[in-house]
């Protein structure tokens, strides 16, 4: 069982060495999310109405711009093959890879989203709810992304194809995530969207690694 913590540590260490790749996603997130307060800053009601979609959209863009980094470098240096040839279950190994990728690429977004939320006149407990929404939606998005990245590993310029796979799968997350933030800020009962997001997160973390592992086996052939 030592292999799982080992792979986890290795991937975190490697992503620290490739920090500029991961910073790209965060810069994208901050840029997109901060543009709206800068342009249309003073109207508090308007800000409250758009923060939901903006948060989700910037998370999506941030994950889009860096999603190739999850498997492509490992495919090129050959360590992905060794993962497939390991005596351990590939599903488990991929789960660990996705988890450590989420920590290095999306956990910073959760932290930064609290600062961005205050630029949208969001205060108090609502900031926590914004962070929770970003946390729940990025965990789901990272699973969808890794599946799309694995499916297109063998394609030389996968940009358009990957987006086509991603779009329908991530749409529900965007809709329910925006609603979760909107309802929280308006003071309505937001438990419905949050239940949905949590469900999607659990579903994607249980099925995502299996589907991704399968896609990797096909792509590596």
């Amino acid at each position: 069982m030592r292999i799982y913590p080992q792979l986890f540590l290795r991937d975190l260490k490697v992503s620290m060495k490739r920090w500029s790749d991961f910073l790209t996603g965060m810069i994208m997130f901050i840029l997109v999310a901060f543009i709206f307060p800068l342009i249309a800053g003073s109207d508090q009601d308007f800000m409250h109405r758009i923060i939901g979609p903006v948060m989700l959209l910037s998370s999506l863009l941030a994950s889009l711009i860096s999603m190739q980094n999850i498997f492509k470098p490992d495919l090129i240096n050959g360590s992905l093959e060794q993962l497939v040839l390991s005596r351990h279950s590939l599903n488990g190994l991929i789960f660990i890879k996705i988890l450590s990728y989420w920590i290095s690429s999306s956990l910073p977004l959760v932290v930064v989203s609290s600062l961005i939320a205050s630029a949208y006149y969001v205060t108090g407990i609502d900031i926590i709810k914004v962070m929770l929404t970003v946390l729940l939606s990025t965990t789901t998005l990272v699973n969808i992304n890794s599946l799309a990245a694995a499916l297109t590993l063998g394609v030389r310029y996968p940009g358009a194809l990957m987006t086509l796979i991603l779009f329908p799968l991530s749409l529900p997350i965007l809709i329910f995530g925006s609603k979760a933030i909107e309802y929280s800020i308006l003071g309505l009962d937001s438990s419905g969207p949050f239940y949905f997001l949590t469900g999607m997160m659990l579903l994607s973390f249980s099925l995502g690694p299996i589907a991704t592992a399968f896609a990797i086996r096909i792509s590596i052939d």
Partner: protein
């Protein structure tokens, strides 16, 4: 060393209707060394990848102890150490970190004499990206030698190696074979390989 039998039965591989190889069969037992010879592009790497289960055969089957390797999965992979064209090292990490996080390592207290023999001791703390091609190749070879697995599969192991390292590698292969291990080597440098009883020439 506990060993098994690797069998390839009338294997054929087509890629996009194009024939890569056809009707190849062999039995590999403990102590056997199979050499796959052939020019560039003759299908050596494809054959080796099918033996590792990375590429699916169009016809025929790969058997480990008389069971298809796709069915037994990890029971096969726990015996297999595969050196690909790429060295499977992570360029951002140092050689020592690559060793620490190597997924196939079974024993923590391995002797590091392989690194000494390959003259890698002084490079242990430099990132793999800074090593020369030959040094990375030797590092990847040492991981296989230290893996403690019974079936070693090498794709062009002699590429970029200096003559001293070739001699040492052949010594380790001979030692592994006499320990009842199995080795499969593909090469187009026939002068480097020791003579063996099993040989396939691809064309």
């Amino acid at each position: 060393m506990q060993s098994g039998v690797l069998q390839l039965q009338s294997a054929s591989l087509y890629r996009d209707e194009q024939l890569i190889f056809r009707e190849i069969s062999f039995d590999l037992k403990g102590g056997d060394h199979l050499i796959i010879k052939g020019n560039n592009g003759s299908g050596k790497t494809s054959l080796i990848r099918t033996l590792c289960g990375l590429t699916q055969l169009t016809e025929g089957s790969v058997l480990w102890n008389h069971s298809p390797i796709d069915d037994i999965g990890s029971n096969y992979y726990q015996h297999l150490a595969y050196l690909a064209h790429s060295n499977s090292l992570i360029p951002e990490l140092t050689l020592l970190e690559n060793l620490t996080y190597n997924l196939h390592r079974t024993d923590l207290d391995q002797d590091h004499s392989v690194f000494e023999e390959f003259q890698l001791k002084q490079s242990m703390n430099s990132p793999v990206a800074n090593l020369s091609n030959g040094q990375s190749r030797k590092a990847a070879l040492s991981f296989i030698i230290m893996s403690g697995k019974s079936l070693w599969v090498f794709d062009e192991p002699y590429a970029n190696l200096d003559s001293q390292s070739i001699v040492y590698l052949n010594q380790r292969i001979a030692a592994h074979l006499s320990d009842n291990g199995m080795v499969i080597t593909s090469t187009n440098r026939e002068e480097a390989v020791p003579t063996t009883n099993l040989e396939i020439t691809m064309s």
